[in-house]
Amino acid sequence: MIQLQSENASYQGVKTLHDIDLKVSEGEKLALVGQSGSGKSTLIKLIYERYPVNTALVPQDYGLVNHLSVFHNVYMGCLDQHSTFYNLVNLIRPKADQVEMVRAILSGLQLEDYLFRPVGRLSGGQKQRVAVARSLFQKGHLLLADEPVSSVDEQQSRVVLKQMLNGFSTVVLALHDIQLALAFCDRIIGLEKGRIVLDSPAKRLTEQDLLSLY
């Protein structure tokens, strides 16, 4: 599914990833863990660069359009599945069937009440869930998410992660919360200073093992 061989990558001119070898098979749920600056975000970007087709992305800065409603931001995940004309009409007059589909996804993320509210007027945690909703609406073989629950509380994090893992067969998450990583993913990749220093099935690891990375 994903195959990277001795890859290097730079972020803003600084080399942040060294010699990355990574193979991910269909159906795997991966968590990338490590300190901030260890290269998690760059690795997510790198995978997206290599495999952009049929891949949904939840970037760290959400990638939302503040002046558009929640509905439109979520619908944006599927722009490529409709004609330009259809998209433009939907921008001015939301299509009833699309609204229903988006509403169904939002209700799973406790965002139903904000369907037509401009994203700019939502809180940080709500915005983050809108970005997740967009990826769920987009669907695909692979989900790449960079800290997708960093701004939502513990209980909601679990709801959101569950939705994401159910929605996609293969998932790569950057997570700084190791408890969540161990609870939801089946394979853990530890990064330190741009190198992979740990690659192990989650069930063989304890929290103690991962703490050494921090």
Binding site: L57, M76, A131
Partner: protein, 503 residues
């Protein structure tokens, strides 16, 4: 004794400009020629007390024409500019736009008058063409600087148009709207002065009233113009714009038709340099060209530069005097209101009209042009700096009066002040050239004379030189701003203030 203290670059550059302006003063002709200038000025201001609305239908007609040309020109310009902004990364588009922008609306009007006569297309293109070039540049800057984070999450298979309308336009819409509505205000001023070269807008009525000494009518026109600009946000509504755009063509329509012979002759005969038309020998051609360059272009350039440099520094000095008038650090609300009224009047009156009025009163010399340019630009930048000064929080025990001015405010505002002033350098130069049409010997004077003598080939070369000079000053201004690190941040750039500074 040697001083350890070192002055900043901004300080040195400022003095360099002041010295240049002082030096230029020796080469400028500054005098009051008319016999009783102050008497005439008094008569003018007495007219303010008795505005004359008796020709109401004529006044309304002039305003409708002014509005219609402005709306059509700006609407057309913004539509074309919007499309050009999408391909603005192409180098030749940037260069052509810089060149088109560098030529003043009035010069464009003089050119199109030659091609289309008094057909409405002349006014439409005279505004629309340079505005399209400006829109292209600023829209492209807005697109470039806007948040692009939503783009990364969108599937790469989505169509460009869908992506643009979903991921870019909604968040940039406010910026486009603010800038475009600001440009409509500029468009009204441009449209008004097109009357001075014969289009049926405000300038036409104003100049005829002036020639006949009907100062009461002049004031009626000016007061109505101030009212129109002051209320712009009430009558420019998104819902009303389509109505205006549909109505405008009916207002500007007239009986004149485009003569295709004229169009053809313009491109195949009029603008072809005379030596080529005549098939002159190389030495004869050189003689023709050097005559044009030495006797018209050079003195025109020299006078344009002299006027520009004096007017630039005078604008700067007036700015520094004007901005405290509207700043709460210096004046109480009553005083500030008066300051606002003064600055609004000065910046709303097109500099061309100011110069025209002063020239009629004082006779032709550089003085009216300097005063007009300095008042208009000083009021614009003074307004911006005054508003900017409100963001400064002074400590409770800060000094008062001049101490406050020189120790607390000026040091904090000076960088912004220089940035705005350099932004307007190119605009002042464009205006200096155009004021030549009023009889001051800048490039506009030679261009206008060539056109009067039906030497369009010479006029085109001189216009080309004027444009080059502008592009050069623009580049110099950009260089100095970079050198002095006078950058405006993104938020400020997208705001209305930035638009005002940039025009």
């Amino acid at each position: 004794m040697d001083s350890v203290y070192k002055h900043s670059r901004a300080w040195k550059v400022s003095w360099l400009f002041v010295l240049l302006a002082g030096f230029s003063l020796f080469f400028s002709d500054i005098e009051i020629i008319s016999l009783e200038p102050w008497q005439e000025l008094k008569r003018l201001f007495l007219g303010l007390l008795t505005p004359d609305w008796s020709n109401f239908s004529e006044i309304i007609q002039a305003f409708l024409q002014t509005l219609a040309f402005a709306i059509l020109g700006v609407a057309g310009g913004s539509a074309v500019g919007f499309l050009l902004a999408q391909i603005f990364h192409w180098r030749w588009i940037q260069i052509s736009c810089a060149f088109i922008r560098a030529i003043h609306e009035l010069f464009w009007a003089l050119i199109f008058l030659q091609i289309f006569g008094l057909h409405p297309l002349t006014g439409l293109l005279a505004i629309g063409l340079p505005y399209a070039a400006t829109f292209a540049k600023v829209y492209a800057e807005i697109l470039e600087e806007g948040d692009k984070s939503a783009l990364q999450a969108i599937s790469r298979n989505a169509s460009t148009i869908s992506t643009f309308f979903y991921a870019r336009l909604p968040d940039l819409w406010e910026h486009f709207k603010t800038y475009t509505s600001y440009r409509l205000e500029c468009g009204l001023r441009s449209s008004a002065i097109l009357g001075f070269v014969g289009l049926p807008t405000l300038g036409y009525t104003l100049s005829s009233a002036f020639m006949e000494g009907h100062y009461s009518v002049v004031w009626a026109l000016l007061l109505l113009f101030y009212l129109l600009i002051a209320t712009i946000r009430y009558w420019v509504r998104p819902a009303l714009l389509p109505v205006y755009i549909i109505a405008a063509p009916f207002i500007v329509a007239n009986d004149s038709t485009i003569s295709f012979d004229n169009v053809q002759r313009f491109f195949t005969e009029d603008i072809i340099p005379a030596p080529i038309m005549r098939g002159d020998s190389l030495s004869e051609s050189w003689h023709w060209l050097s005559d044009l360059l030495v006797n018209q272009a050079l003195p025109g350039i020299a006078n344009t530069v002299v006027l520009t440099q004096i007017a630039l520094v005078a604008s700067g000095i007036l700015t520094l005097l004007f901005f405290p008038l509207i700043s709460s650090h210096f004046f109480k609300p009553v005083g500030r209101t008066l300051g606002h009224v003064l600055l609004v009047i000065l910046r709303t009156t097109p500099e061309y009209i100011l110069a025209y009025i002063l020239l009629q009163l004082w006779g032709p010399s550089m003085l009216p042009a300097i005063v007009a340019l300095a008042l208009h630009n000083g009021a614009i930048i003074g307004h911006l700096i005054g508003r900017y000064s409100l963001e400064i929080q002074l400590r409770a025990d800060a000094g008062r009066g001049l101490n406050r001015y020189f120790y607390e405010l000026l040091p904090r505002l000076y960088g912004q002040f220089l940035a705005f002033l350099f932004y307007r350098w190119e605009i002042i130069m464009r205006e200096s050239a155009i004021l030549g049409i009023l009889g001051i010997a800048t490039l506009g004077f030679y261009i206008d004379s060539s056109i009067q003598e039906l030497h369009f080939d010479k006029a085109m070369i001189l216009i080309f030189i004027t444009a080059l000079l502008n592009v050069l000053v623009d580049a110099l201004s950009r260089y100095l701003r970079a050198k002095l690190r006078l950058t405006t941040n993104v938020d400020c750039r997208a705001s209305n203030d930035y638009c005002t500074a940039r025009e």
